[in-house]
Symmetry: C2
Subunit: 252 residues, 2 copies
DNA sequence: AGTGTTTATCGTCAGGCAGACGACTATGAT
DNA sequence: ATCATAGTCGTCTGCCTGACGATAAACACT
């Protein structure tokens, strides 16, 4: 039964963003504090209305720039500069997800390297990077002993879906490099995998795997000792986007 | 910048369906003929407006039932009866995708076993199963020499995305069984993979792989000769949804 | 009944890849 | 000088896969 333009219920359409990064060996997401009801004072994912003349991807890129200053990447171009990877995640449209009106939210997933600091319209106290486990634990107590309120709306579900997407996608793609600065070492890339998956990986097998996969990493010639220890080769992300065979996530 | 309920542009929200099945060794999709402008007389994917009190998944399941009579499966339950697998695919919201108004379409992907016949509101001439290559070839000539018009709206893109999702998802999940009747043989399952991927697979290695993966197939005890040749064991889909290690799609 | 065709199923073998882990190297810190 | 840290190169073993031989059980002929 294709479109019947004579009558349709009006919807509001928003984009919500799951912006992930790796800080201090932990997978973190960007959260903003709500300044107005509903869920006033609670943490939520950044997002906003899609404008009348805007594509969904444009709206997501605009929101991402407003919240973080990051430019979104053209998905066809390999991740190289400080731009972020941005892709559509899923769409959430439960009739009761927003108590005010019927809102359909097209969630997007962004992966960014570690950033200096978040900015929410210039107000830093209303935006922060929080470890995803902290944002996802429902009604417990945070590390500072403060009670933890769950995220507003259905944002806990959206965040969980985004985290799972990131976890599975770095298995068979080179997307983990989106968490890294333009030049990085094999060890830094390994710590990204370890943070996202929450596991420890064997440095020797990891090194063999990533350097042996054609197109994954391109040596820049430089070295660095910023992690301490023996100097490590620096790499850029290569052109390969699909890893075959994939990097398998260890069981349990 | 979270929700500002004071002003937002109104959208129409629809669900479009990519319904795939395997018929006569070919991957086919359900297409309906448009009865009214725009794109009158052209083929399109089935779909329709989301109702005011409906969840997106509900709307997709309702459309699926209207077009095919299929009940959608609870995703948590393994595919066993004649119900179809149904999952959200992606959302398409280009401002110009519908010339009449701003329409955001949440596309869903359904995988169904071979069905007796399509029905579009009782009118069979306005619905058909067509091989996906036929629907996706732009402006060529079909097998009957008739000129082929491309699908309406951006439905060629949606269909292509759905096909790619199905092709990749049967690699690492047991979803290929959604194309099979409740009981099926290893050879029938192999022909599903061959049709979806468009490749030939070695029957011996395929048999070893699927029967050796715990939880993928459960023998029912019966046998059948409906494919000719030596009687083959009948299986049901097992509880496993994730295949580890995956069934790798051959290169090239 | 015999022969060929079709499909199913079991087995064998070699190559590739991953996990476990030993060994060595090159820095900075004490 | 010694230690701690991190990076890099090898080795070995087991598992999985692709290629492919062989056998089994039905049906369609003659």
């Amino acid at each position: 039964m294709p479109y019947d333009p004579s009558a349709f219920p009006p919807f509001a359409v928003t984009v919500d963003l799951v912006v992930l990064t790796v800080r201090r060996h932990a997978l973190c997401a960007l959260a903003v504090r709500r300044g107005e009801p509903p869920f006033q004072g609670r943490w939520a994912l950044p997002g906003g209305f899609v404008r009348a003349d805007e594509d969904l991807a444009q709206a997501a890129a605009r929101e991402l720039a407003e919240e973080t200053g990051l430019r979104a990447h053209d998905p066809a171009v390999p991740v190289q500069d400080n731009g972020a990877h941005l892709e559509q995640l899923a769409t959430y449209g439960d009739p009761k997800r927003d108590p005010r009106m019927r809102v359909v939210s097209v969630a997007h997933l962004a992966l960014a390297p570690d950033l200096p600091a978040p900015r929410a319209g210039g107000d830093a106290s209303n935006a922060r990077w929080a470890p995803v486990e902290e944002l996802l634990q429902q009604g417990g107590y945070g590390r500072d002993g403060e009670p933890v309120a769950p995220l507003a709306f259905d944002h806990a579900q959206i965040l969980a879906d985004g985290v799972e997407r990131a976890r599975s996608k770095i298995e068979y793609s080179s997307l983990a490099t989106a968490f890294c600065p333009p030049e990085f070492t094999v060890g830094e890339l390994r710590r990204v995998y370890e943070a996202v998956w929450g596991v420890a990986l064997d440095p020797r097998n990891f090194h063999r795997k990533v350097t042996g996969t054609p197109g994954f990493l391109v040596p820049t010639g430089g070295t660095t000792t910023r992690q301490g220890g023996r100097p490590a080769q620096l790499f850029r992300a290569g052109g390969a986007t699909l890893l075959n065979p994939p990097m398998l996530r260890p069981e349990v």
